[in-house]
Amino acid sequence: MQARMWTRGLIGVGAAAAFAVQAPALAQETIKIGVPTALSGTYADLGNQAKRAVEFAVNEVNAKGGIGGRKLEVKVLDTEAKPDVARKQAEKLALEGYKILTGTIASGEGLAMAPMLERWDALYVVTINKADALTGANCVPRVFRVNHPDEQDAAIVRPWLGTRKETKWAIVAADIAWGRNSGKSFAAAAKANGKELVGEFYPAFGTNDFAPYIQQVKNSGAQGVWIALAGRDAINFATQAKQFGLLDSTFVAGVSFVTDNTVKTLGDTSKGIWGIINYSSTLDTPANKRFVEAWKKAYNGDEPTNFEGETYIGMQVIIQAIERAKSAKPLDVARAMSGGTFDTLYGKSQIRAADHQMVQPNYFGYVGAQGGKLRPIITTTFAADQATPPPSGECKMPKL
């Protein structure tokens, strides 16, 4: 009796082992997309937007039968927007087979992941990180960016700043790679336009009490303030700046500051604030109109936000590159991406081979009422060639 139980047990173990061996072979059938993004903390709102956009794109593709008969599968892990956590979670995803990564929020996270991609045999498509270094000094063959880096934003801030009458400016930006980058670019733009910079403030990422910074901006005598704060930082700053009267006494503009989602939260507080608009659901392209309609149907009439649109563009590029490569191996997909032209929400957009940056238009506007709703409204459109500076030359891209 005992012996028989043993053999039965052994057969069971054997069967389990055989299944375990087979499982990876079956898993190869699906194409795995990994999303290491912020689901908790200061950038949780951004991370959830990235997650929604990836899931939307995946459902869309799977409803059509997948790519070449292979379904897409997504796994999302929380990075808390911390570089070291992002690195760990991305590694975990890559080792579990989710080697095509996208949807990460903070630039510091992207910069921490980039040098590891080769070791993980992974690929990272940037849809929200803005630090120039990712497609500049720290570029690597397995990183591609479809959103606007800081230098693209700076390229449209410079001419716009020339049209403003305010002569004294201050900067308030998050003390992380992106905020520092934006502050530096704005300082250069101010100088080029003969404006005086009266204060630069870099509150820590995740600051709750902005009162000391707001007071210092007021004391500096600035007539205009440039803000590079996002997520909960943006909400906290804007709410407190309203209470302290800064928004009423000073001209305010920024980047990723008054976005579709922060405007929803802030309401009238955000009215009249100017800023860069990287993507808007109001863009007048056939592809975008189709996307917005499908999105509204999927999400109870909600329109896609700027971060959702940008992350969706990342998924468009990933899907088309896999189709072209006829493979979901990161290296094959990367080769298809480098130098390729893709159908995106903006129209046809090329990813430059020199630095893996996508060339796309950029927009500027302010928060106002449109269609009975408060939202960022585009006033100026900068065409792709005008909005995208040539490769900085800091990126020495090794061959793929």
Partner: protein, 340 residues
């Protein structure tokens, strides 16, 4: 069970006795198991998670040692862990001296710092001591965050290590299979070293001070230096964990210094059981995998960890390790007497 009976049941052997033969067998078995594991477990993911878990276990051992041997609760052990990381990373970033020197400093400097700090702060009892360690830890965190030019600020930076360290290819420290063995050996050697240490005169004196500092002082013992030494030893173990972490990840950020890491280390130690030498290490490994699992299941994983901590502290006051020992004793009623 009275408190005394409990602690005697949990102590492996009476203090002062020479290490029994079985302890050497345990040491050999533990080392062999660690060396064999990467041969058996083929999943790279499992090995990389185990490696991180063992490094967490070393940090938890550091915190647990301080509680067990000095009765002091540290809320700032991330400072020693993170300092070790920055001692490896910063000289490489600014081209100051060879990485081999940095690694020695990464372990030595936090230890020395802890000894000097210890001479002052171990005199302060209870919560005040914990608050001081918290303040010291956060001071380093704030510096790493603010001194952007030097440390890279919030974003941290990748450590550029040479191809070989002490003639060993750096690759060895970054491949999960080999790094797991290194981290495991470090943990086992540390636990074994501490096991021997508790049997020495130093071990008994510090235990006496922990139980009643005033009485130990009246008996003529110096009570500050021994406790500062325990604090330094605990920092040394934390620094070893930080060194391994930095070599493995080749990346540092202020998170390595943040109080939340100190808090996690403390949770690991409590969950594992601080009465036992190996309790915190067990807690570290369990905590790591639990956090990993919870993170896979829900984005509200911090709540799951909080709830579990409450359940463990209420239901298992001696931690998982203590519960295991009790279970074993119940299964083998005569087992406790074999070397009694």
């Amino acid at each position: 069970m009275s408190r005394q009976a409990e602690s005697s049941a949990l102590a492996a052997a009476p203090p002062g006795a020479a290490p029994a033969r079985w302890t050497w067998s345990v040491l050999a078995a533990a080392l062999a198991a660690g060396a064999l594991l990467p041969q058996v477990v083929t999943s790279t993911l499992a090995i990389t998670l185990l490696t991180q878990a063992v490094i967490g276990g070393i940090l938890a051992t550091a915190v647990g040692l301080l509680i067990r041997q000095a009765g002091l609760v540290s809320f700032g052990h991330a400072a020693f862990f993170g300092l070790a990381g920055y001692f490896i990373a910063l000289p490489a970033r600014h081209g100051l001296w060879p990485a081999e020197v940095s690694i020695v400093l990464a372990v030595a400097a936090p230890t020395l710092l802890a000894f000097l700090l210890g001479l002052v702060i171990v005199r302060i009892p209870g919560v005040a001591f914990s608050m001081l360690t918290l303040a010291i830890g956060q001071a380093f965190h704030e510096f790493a965050l603010r001194a952007r030019e030097i440390t890279g600020g919030e974003d941290g930076f990748a450590i550029s290590l040479p191809r070989a360290l002490y003639g060993v290819p750096t690759e060895i420290f970054q491949r999960p299979q080999s790094m797991f063995v290194i981290a495991w050996v470090a943990l086992v050697v540390i636990l074994f070293g501490l096991h021997l240490l508790t049997r020495t005169r130093f071990g008994r004196v510090t235990a006496a001070i922990r139980e009643n500092e005033e009485r130990a002082r009246f008996l003529g013992y110096q009570t500050v230096v021994p406790r500062a030494l325990v604090f330094a030893l605990s920092a040394l173990i934390g620094a070893v964990a930080g060194t391994l972490f930095a070599l493995y990840n080749a990346f540092v950020s202020p998170e390595m210094l943040h109080w939340s890491l100190s808090g996690s280390a403390l949770i690991m130690a409590i969950v594992g059981g601080t009465k036992l030498l190996w309790g915190p290490a067990l807690g570290g490994v369990v905590f790591f995998f639990f956090k990993d699992l919870a993170g896979d299941l829900t984005e509200h994983w911090p709540a799951m960890i909080g709830l579990t901590l409450i359940v463990v502290t209420v239901a298992l006051p001696l931690g998982i390790g203590g519960a295991l020992v009790r279970l074993l004793q119940r299964l083998r009623p005569a087992g406790g007497r074999t070397h009694g």
